[in-house]
Symmetry: C2
Subunit: 213 residues, 2 copies
C-alpha cells in the first residue's frame, strides 16, 4: 500500500500531522490487507465485518472509524491496482526524452510488477466488482478507461512516429490491458515461472501486439 | 448448450432413448442457464437452490433429480466454455491439410465466438471457481491445461515449419489464452464494437503474439 501511505504522508503539512497521517495510513492499509485476504479466501459475501475485526484483533467500532461499511473496504481494495498503475503510467509518460517503444516497455514492465505484487487485490476486484456501489464502480471504471486511453494515445503516436507498424489499431491498448489483467488469475508465486520471466514475456507480448518488433 | 445436447443425443441408441436423452439435456441446459444468470447477477453465495427452483418454476426435488447439489450446477456452468473450446480445438486440429497459421486463425476465431456466446458462464467460472469442489476444480484445470498444451504444440510446430517467427516461445499459448479469457470481462453486447470486430481483432492479436505476421 506504499502509494496510499505516500499520498497520506504528502497530504499533511506539519511534523505531528505527518506522523498522525502515517499512523492512519498504516492502519488503513492493514485493514484492507487483512480484509482482502479474507475476501480472497472466502468470498466477499461470506465475510462479515466481525470476521475482519477478529482477524485484525480489533473491535468493529474501530473499523467504522476508518471505513463507513464493508463496501467501502471493498472499494479501497479494488482501487489499489488501478490507482498504482495510473500513477506509474503518468510518471513514465512525463519523460519526454524516451521513444514510444521505450515508454511502452517501461509502463508495461512496471504495471506488470504491480499486478503481480497486488495479485490478491486484483483478483478480489475481478471477482467481487458486482458488490461495489454504483459510485465506486464507476470511479474505478473511469480510472481504467483513462489508463486504456493513455496507452492508446501512446500507441497512436508511436505509429505516427513510425516506431510501431502502421496497420496497428490503437484499440490494441485494450488487448494489452487484457494481457496484464489476466496475469493474476494464472500466475502462481513459486510456480514454474519466476515473476521476472513472466514480466519479460509480458513486455515481449505487448511489443508484438503494438507492432513494435 | 448445443454440444452438451449433442453429446447426450449421440450417447443414446434407440429412438425412444434418444428422445428421452434430448429431454434430459434440454432440462439440464435450462437449469444451468437460469442458475448461471442468477449466479452472474447476485453471486453464487447469495443464491439458494430455492431461488433457482423459483426462477425455473419447478420444485427443489426436481432440481435434485438432475444435480446432486448447488455445487454440481456451478461445476456444469464452469465447464461449458472450456469443454466447447476443447471440442472445437480438436475438430480443427484434425484437418491436416491446413497451414499452422490457418489452424491458429480458425481455432482462435471459433473459441472467441464461444466465449462471447457463453459470456455469462465464463464470467461465473472466473468469479466463483473458488466454490468448486477440488475434484471439479482440478478436472476443469486439466481441460484448460490440455487446451494450452495443444496450442503450444501448434505454435512450436509452426515455428519449426518456418511459419511463425523463430524467436517465438511456445508459452505464448498462455498469453493467447489470456486474450481470449479476458474478452468476457470487458466485451459488452450492443456496445461500441460488434462481436465480429472483436473476433477479427482477437485473431490479429493472436497472430501477432505467435509471430505469424
Amino acid at each position: 500500500m506504499s502509494s496510499i501511505a505516500t499520498n497520506a504522508r504528502e497530504a499533511s503539512a506539519g511534523a505531528n500531522d505527518s506522523l498522525k497521517s502515517e499512523f492512519v495510513a498504516f492502519k488503513t492499509n492493514r485493514i484492507i490487507e487483512v480484509a482482502s485476504n479474507l475476501f480472497y479466501q472466502r468470498g466477499y459475501s461470506s465475510c462479515t465485518l466481525d470476521l475482519v475485526a477478529d482477524n485484525l484483533g480489533v473491535t468493529k467500532p474501530f473499523l467504522y472509524s476508518y471505513f463507513k461499511n464493508k463496501e467501502a473496504i471493498l472499494a479501497a481494495i479494488c482501487e489499489v491496482g488501478i490507482s498504482e498503475s495510473l500513477a506509474v503510467l503518468e510518471a513514465t509518460l512525463a519523460d519526454e526524452h524516451k521513444t514510444h517503444r521505450a515508454l511502452l516497455t517501461e509502463v508495461v514492465r512496471q504495471v506488470g510488477r504491480i499486478v503481480i505484487e497486488r495479485q490478491e487485490y486484483v483478483v478480489v476486484y475481478q471477482r467481487e466488482m458486482k458488490h461495489l456501489s454504483a459510485t465506486d464502480h464507476n470511479r474505478i471504471l473511469r480510472m481504467r478507461a483513462s489508463f486504456d486511453h493513455q496507452i492508446a494515445e501512446l500507441i497512436r503516436e508511436g505509429v505516427e512516429a513510425g516506431e510501431f507498424r502502421e496497420d496497428t489499431d490503437s484499440f490494441v491498448a485494450v488487448w494489452i490491458g487484457g494481457l496484464i489483467s489476466w496475469i493474476p488469475t494464472w500466475y502462481s508465486p513459486g510456480g514454474q515461472r519466476s515473476s521476472g520471466e513472466v514480466i519479460d514475456q509480458l513486455v515481449t507480448a505487448a511489443l508484438r501486439l503494438a507492432g513494435a518488433e
